[in-house]
Structures are given as structure tokens and as C-alpha cells.
């Protein structure tokens, strides 16, 4: 492999690799604003300019490919002077909004202003201001904070597949907006907030909810569809406040769809059943665990049972259920459900050209591996049903039979059930899920199950020993 020297450190590189990436591997941080590894290179912010031996001028590291024997100085006098000047230039019109800005704490501009900028401003003129435009249900724009890096424009063109963001006017008056001021159309709009290096594009959903440095970050996997995108759940005090995309070049690169990003809201919905409940004349009534398990046993006793298992559960849970059904209800059919119309892994396909899959549950492909069959219709002679579910799988239409629900249910869904034993949803448990590529990925627990809900293994333990 060819080698180059960055700040006196010798690094190997693949031909064609740019200097920012090579330097990162050498442990040298080159500051960038407009460069993003998932997008095309425009070398617009000039922040990454470095000195290269035998070149008369500073070169932008993001657009310069490393060559054999290249000697790069990122900390030379000229490079540092450039970084300082660019920081001052970018901050000329940037408001001192950090106390109210949602990006504050994870903001590239803020971090690099600390590292490379000056603590004083020489600007005495009035700062340029814009009137803000509504950008639809996902994104809030604050144009005053923008530094014109055009990451959002390139993201729309190259990743989301819709050219909806544009830069109008030129020079000092440049404004980033949508074409004709229309709201954003793409189903991947949340990424605009992720890639924006300042707080100009932020999530409406997360607006003023929490400061980012207070959040505990858990690297987990999205359960929105069979792709299983890498995701980070940000939580504090047992409440998930937001989910952001995590890098996984094999699965989702750097992106996440809005459906998966905002899927976590059902965890904290008020109509979720979080205490064991049994049915009565006036709907569900909350009881103790012991009483509820006894009622569930009584419901299924002596009846020919059908076991349904949502394909949003983990491999470990599915295995537990298989063993449990084999022991407690020998001969009962165990079928999986998840998305209406998708009964097996063969029917799962790409929904669009970006990330989404047709199967809206995360572990359909794992269940096929365990040999489970899809649910299509209720077998004749069935007298009772037991449903296991993680919260995401769509309940199929069931005939009015005595039903026991184990897992996450909403109050309306569980209204007709004989018994509900509340379980844990995706952010409340750890386990393995298998995506459509056959890749085994880990769900990691970010928060504890709410109320009196218990993990599935615990529920099955109570059932077998009570």
C-alpha cells in the first residue's frame, strides 16, 4: 500500500482516498463543515485547508486525494491562520443562540469554534437576519444559524432522491430554502437535522425537549423494518427522547428513515397497557401478576390453543416461547405475524430505493431461521389464542375467541382480550435480531420497562412456577 506523511506520522492509504479520511486514521483531526463521508465533495467551507509540501497554496483536504510520499502539515502556521480566519468568517453572522439551540452540545460549529476559533468577535455591524419558513412536520429551520455548507442540498439530491432544498440568492444574502417554499416531501427528512453542522435544521419532534449532553446514548438497532438500521437511542430517566442514525456502512450507511426514527413514541404512549389486566364486564381491570397469570391459565386450560408470535420479538424470546409452547401446550401450532400481506421472508422486498423494507417488523428473517411458519388463517377447531408481541407487529384480525395477550399492547387493541400480561418493547430489552441480509444484530436495553411490565423470560418463569 502507498504511504504518505501527515504531521510527521506515516500512514498507509488506499488509492483515491481523501486526506480527511487518511488523517482520521492517523489520529489527526482535520476540521470540516461541508464534507460528509456519505455525500459528494464540494470543498466549499475551506475549513479543512492544509499545507502540502511542494504546493504553493493551501489545499482543501476533503477534495485532495492522498498520493505516494505526500507530506501534509495540518498544524503549520499558514493552516492555523486559515482555520482561525474561516472560523471568524463563519461566525460573523452566526447568532449567539447556543442557550436555546437544540444542537448545542453536539454542534460542529460550536465544537470547532472552541478548538480553532477566537473567543472574541470583531464584528460591530448588525447581523444579517431572515424570516423563517415552515418546513413541514419534521424539520424546523432557523436560517440565521446557517453557514451555507450545502450538506442538506446534497443529501436531498444524492441520498433522499428528491431535489427539494436549494440555495437562492448569492453571497451574503444566500438563503437555503425549499423550492417555492413547499414543505419537505421526503420520508427521510430527519437526516437533514442529523447532517446539519449547525442548528439551522433541527427536529420539530425534539424541539426544546432536552439538552443533548444530559442524554444517555445507547447503541441499538431500529425495529422499524426488516433492514435493521443501526440506531442510537437517547434517553434520560427512563424516557427515550429521540433516536438518531448510527453509522453502519453495510446496512444503512449514515441514514435512518422517519418511520424508524419516530417509532419509539409508542413506548411512552398513555394508552399502553403497563399493568397486568383481566377482562370484566366494563373492559380491562388492573390486577396483580399472580391473579393475572392464574386467569390466563384458566382461559387456556382444556382448550385447543393457537399460539401467535409477533415477528418483532428477538431470537432469544422466540426460542423461549418455542420451548414454553412445546412444554405447556403440546401440539399447539406456533405461527408468526407482523405485516399484513407478508407471511414469509420470500415476500419481503425493498419498499423504496433507499432503506425501507416491506416487512415492517425487524426479525421476520430470524424467525424463518428458527423454522416458524407465517400466520394466514385460524386453523379449524381452535378454541383459544395466546398472542406474544413486542409492540411493532400489526395484530391480525382474530375471530372472537378467548385470547391471552403477552407483551406490548394498546388499550383499544387489548380491549377484547381475556388477560393481558405486559411485556417489554424494543428499547427495554436486549437480544438478537436478524435482518434481511442474515446479519445478526444486537438490541441493547436503553430504558427499563414501564409500570409493572416484565421481560418475556420473567413472565414465562412466573407462568411455569406459579
Amino acid at each position: 500500500m502507498p504511504k504518505c506523511v501527515i504531521d510527521g506520522r506515516e500512514v498507509e492509504f488506499a488509492p483515491g482516498e481523501n486526506l480527511v479520511e487518511v488523517a482520521k486514521r492517523a489520529g489527526v483531526n482535520i476540521p470540516v463543515f461541508c464534507y460528509h463521508p456519505g455525500l459528494s465533495v464540494v470543498a466549499q467551507c475551506r475549513m479543512c485547508a492544509v499545507e502540502i509540501e511542494k504546493m504553493p497554496k493551501l489545499q482543501t483536504a476533503c477534495s485532495t486525494a492522498a498520493t505516494e510520499g505526500m507530506a501534509v502539515k495540518t498544524q503549520s502556521e499558514r493552516a492555523i491562520k486559515n482555520q482561525k480566519s474561516i472560523m471568524e468568517f463563519l461566525l460573523l453572522n452566526h447568532p449567539l443562540d447556543c442557550p436555546i439551540c437544540d444542537k448545542s452540545g453536539e454542534c460542529d460549529l460550536q465544537d470547532q469554534s472552541y478548538d480553532y476559533g477566537s473567543p472574541y468577535s470583531r464584528m460591530t455591524e448588525e447581523k444579517r437576519t431572515y424570516i423563517d419558513l415552515d418546513m413541514g412536520p419534521v424539520i424546523v429551520k432557523n436560517m440565521n444559524r446557517c453557514i451555507h455548507c450545502t450538506r442538506c442540498i446534497r443529501y436531498g439530491e444524492q441520498i433522499a432522491g428528491i431535489h427539494e432544498m436549494v440555495a437562492i440568492r448569492r453571497g451574503n444574502d444566500t438563503e437555503i430554502t425549499t423550492i417555492d417554499g413547499k414543505p419537505l416531501q421526503t420520508a427521510y427528512a430527519g437526516n437533514y437535522a442529523d447532517i446539519c453542522p449547525t442548528g439551522s435544521l433541527t427536529l420539530k419532534d425534539f424541539r426544546f425537549k432536552k439538552r443533548v449532553w444530559l442524554l444517555k446514548r445507547t447503541a441499538t438497532v431500529c425495529e422499524g423494518c426488516a433492514r435493521g438500521c443501526a440506531m442510537e437511542a437517547h434517553a434520560e430517566n427512563n424516557i427515550v427522547y429521540r433516536c438518531v442514525a448510527r453509522e453502519n456502512l453495510e446496512v444503512n450507511q449514515y441514514w435512518l428513515c422517519d418511520e424508524g426514527r419516530f417509532n419509539f413514541h409508542y413506548l411512552h404512549e398513555t394508552d399502553r397497557v403497563v399493568e397486568p389486566a383481566i377482562s370484566s364486564a366494563s373492559g380491562l381491570v388492573i390486577t396483580e401478576w399472580k391473579a393475572a397469570v392464574d386467569a390466563a391459565k384458566a382461559t387456556l386450560k382444556g382448550r385447543k390453543a393457537l399460539a401467535l408470535i409477533g415477528s418483532d420479538l428477538t431470537q432469544e424470546e422466540a426460542k423461549d416461547i418455542q420451548e414454553f409452547i412445546g412444554k405447556s401446550f403440546p401440539g399447539a401450532p406456533l405461527l408468526h405475524f407482523g405485516t399484513p400481506g407478508i407471511h414469509s421472508a420470500r415476500e419481503d422486498a425493498d419498499e423504496d430505493k433507499i432503506l425501507k423494507r416491506k416487512s415492517k417488523t425487524s426479525n421476520l428473517h430470524g424467525f424463518e431461521k428458527l423454522g416458524l411458519k407465517g400466520f394466514e388463517s385460524v386453523p379449524s377447531g381452535t378454541e383459544a389464542v395466546i398472542v406474544f408481541r413486542g409492540g411493532r407487529a400489526m395484530l391480525p384480525k382474530l375471530p372472537t375467541l378467548p385470547t391471552v395477550g403477552v407483551g406490548v399492547f394498546k388499550k383499544q387493541e387489548a380491549d377484547k382480550f381475556a388477560t393481558v400480561l405486559p411485556g417489554a418493547a424494543f428499547a427495554e430489552k436486549s437480544g438478537t435480531i436478524v435482518n434481511f441480509q442474515g446479519r445478526e444484530q444486537k438490541l441493547v436495553r436503553a430504558i427499563l420497562p414501564p409500570g409493572k411490565s416484565k421481560a418475556l423470560s420473567e413472565i414465562l418463569m412466573i407462568w411455569s412456577h406459579a
Binding site: 447556543c98 442557550p99 436555546i100 448545542s104 424541539r207 426544546f208 425537549k209 439538552r211 449532553w213 444530559l214
Partner: protein
């Protein structure tokens, strides 16, 4: 090693030592200057920089606080609880602002961290109550002092 000196029986009574001490006490009692005050009737003048009861400073009737959460972040006794909200004019403001005053150690770091000059410690130091008080937003919005 402790060496015990030899003492006579008379020395064991410490007669002269007690007498000397008593003379000093009586001299201070009758002729010395007083260092205590009779507190509720008399008050002492404290420094203007005393860190006492909190308040949120307001400008033109609107509180300066923008719920940036720097004070709960810096607070060593974790006694400040803020929930942010959006005002009618789209500005961020503290929907709830509570100080669990019994936990507070009056270090003044919240005042120091505040970028908006909002949270202040006034010079009021008499704040004992017979219940466990939690200062809410309405209470903190009262302007106490001119810091």
C-alpha cells in the same frame, strides 16, 4: 513514650490554675468587648455578595431565563429542575423551574454558569420554614434585590 511527672497531692487539685482561668473569665465578662448580638432584635450588616435566596431576574417584566439547562448541569447538589417550553412568540422559556432549596448548598455556581444573567442569589438569608419548601417558578420570579 508518655513520661508522667511527679505531683504532690496539693498540685493534683489544680487550685492556682483554676483561679487564673476564673480571673480571665471574669475580666472578659465585666470589662471585655461583646462579640455576640441579640439576634432577632439586632441584625448584622452582611456583604453585598452574600449568596442567599434565589430569584430569576426579569427584564421589562419577562424573565431572562431561556431554559438552557446550564444551571442544573453545573449544580453539584442536583437541586434545580427545569422543563423547557415554547412561548407564544416562539421563544424558549422555562415551563417549570423548581429549586429543592433544602438540597441547595449555596455555592453560587448556577449564577456563575448562567449565560443570560437570569438566576441570581439575593442577599436574603432568612428562609427557614416548618415544611420542606420547593421554590417554583412563580416564587422565583419575585424580584429580590438588585444583583
Amino acid at each position: 513514650m508518655l513520661v508522667k511527672g511527679k505531683k504532690t497531692l496539693f498540685q493534683d487539685f489544680y487550685f492556682f490554675e483554676t483561679l487564673t482561668g476564673m480571673i480571665i473569665t471574669l475580666k472578659e465578662f465585666f470589662f471585655g468587648t461583646k462579640v455576640t448580638i441579640s439576634y432577632p432584635e439586632e441584625r448584622r450588616q452582611y456583604s453585598e455578595r452574600l449568596r442567599g435566596q434565589h430569584y430569576i431576574k426579569a427584564t421589562n417584566g419577562v424573565e431572562n431565563c431561556t431554559a438552557c439547562m446550564l444551571c442544573p448541569t453545573v449544580c453539584p447538589s442536583e437541586c434545580i429542575h427545569i422543563e423547557a417550553g415554547e412561548r407564544q412568540d416562539k421563544e424558549k422559556y422555562p415551563k417549570t423551574f423548581e429549586i429543592d432549596i433544602l438540597r441547595c448548598c449555596f455555592c453560587g455556581m448556577c449564577e456563575e454558569a448562567c449565560p443570560k444573567d437570569a438566576i441570581k442569589l439575593s442577599t436574603i438569608m432568612e428562609m427557614s420554614t416548618s415544611y420542606r419548601p420547593i421554590y417554583d417558578r412563580a416564587f422565583l420570579s419575585e424580584q429580590r434585590g438588585n444583583k
